[in-house]
């Protein structure tokens, strides 16, 4: 996935090369990404070229960024609040 972002497109055997897995296993992974709309495939003779689909990928990344900010900030404040409450409860017990 990271390679496709940089290289725009690659053939299936190029993608499989750095991994110690067999071509059919790579194909299976690519099927999942294809079904999710994240990559497109085109075939010329025996060579299958894979290309990233930037739009759905960007959409998913935007969603993650948005909620990471939202919940990260919220959880910071949740933690601060709960720690204040814990402090107050501990004092009362003493």
């Amino acid at each position: 996935m990271a390679r496709l972002e940089h290289e725009d497109s690659a053939t299936v055997s190029e993608l499989a090369k750095p991994f110690a897995i067999k071509l059919p296993a790579v194909m299976k992974h690519l099927d999942v990404l294809h079904d999710a709309g994240l990559i497109s495939r085109s075939k010329a003779g025996r060579v299958v070229t894979v290309r990233i689909q930037p739009e759905p990928m960007r959409e998913a990344m935007d969603w993650l960024r948005r909620y990471e900010r939202f919940w990260s900030k919220s959880l910071d404040r949740l933690a601060a609040y709960a720690e204040r409450k814990e402090g107050a409860a501990a004092k009362k017990r003493r």
């Binding site: 999710a36 739009e55 759905p56 990471e68 609040y81 409450k85």
Partner: protein, 149 residues
């Protein structure tokens, strides 16, 4: 399915964290992406009960989200559906997501694992007709921070 998971350690016992997550007074103290106020918080903490939270951001915009409690194991686990009902993200109109919160007792307090998972509803499928079928597995971002030394 796209999902976001955040893990935090909080120096407070799980029951206190659970209360902060589920009581209107607690929610009013932390919900929202900036220091803008929570304007309304309602919770009905039972399976099938609903919650509603409205907040104003520092830029003056108001947003409201609501959902239903799906699993409650006090003070360990909370699962709820989640949806923008006002403001929020226009591109997510009609989209339902799911929040899962697990609280683990640790020596220093509580470890909270917070997951927000995007679900693909009929409505959101219709609005993403360009082949975005929504089977985006494993795009999970884990983020773990020590909240205190």
């Amino acid at each position: 399915m796209t999902s976001l998971t955040l893990v935090r350690r909080i120096r407070a016992r799980p029951s206190i964290v659970f209360d902060a997550l589920t009581t209107p007074a607690g929610i009013a103290e932390w919900w929202g992406p900036d220091l803008g106020p929570v304007l309304l918080a309602e919770t009905d903490v039972r399976i099938g009960g609903r919650f509603r939270v409205r907040f104003r951001m520092l830029d003056g915009t108001e947003h409201e989200s609501a959902g239903e409690y799906l699993e409650i194991v006090e003070p360990k686990r909370l699962v709820m559906s989640w949806q923008w009902t006002n403001g929020g993200e226009p591109e997510e109109a009609g989209e339902m997501s799911r929040i899962e919160i697990d609280l683990k007792r640790i020596e220093t307090g509580t470890e909270i694992t917070f997951t927000h998972a995007r679900l693909r509803t009929q409505a959101s499928r219709a609005s993403h007709e360009r082949g975005w079928a929504g089977a985006l597995d494993k795009l999970v971002r884990h983020c773990s921070t020590e909240h205190f030394a």
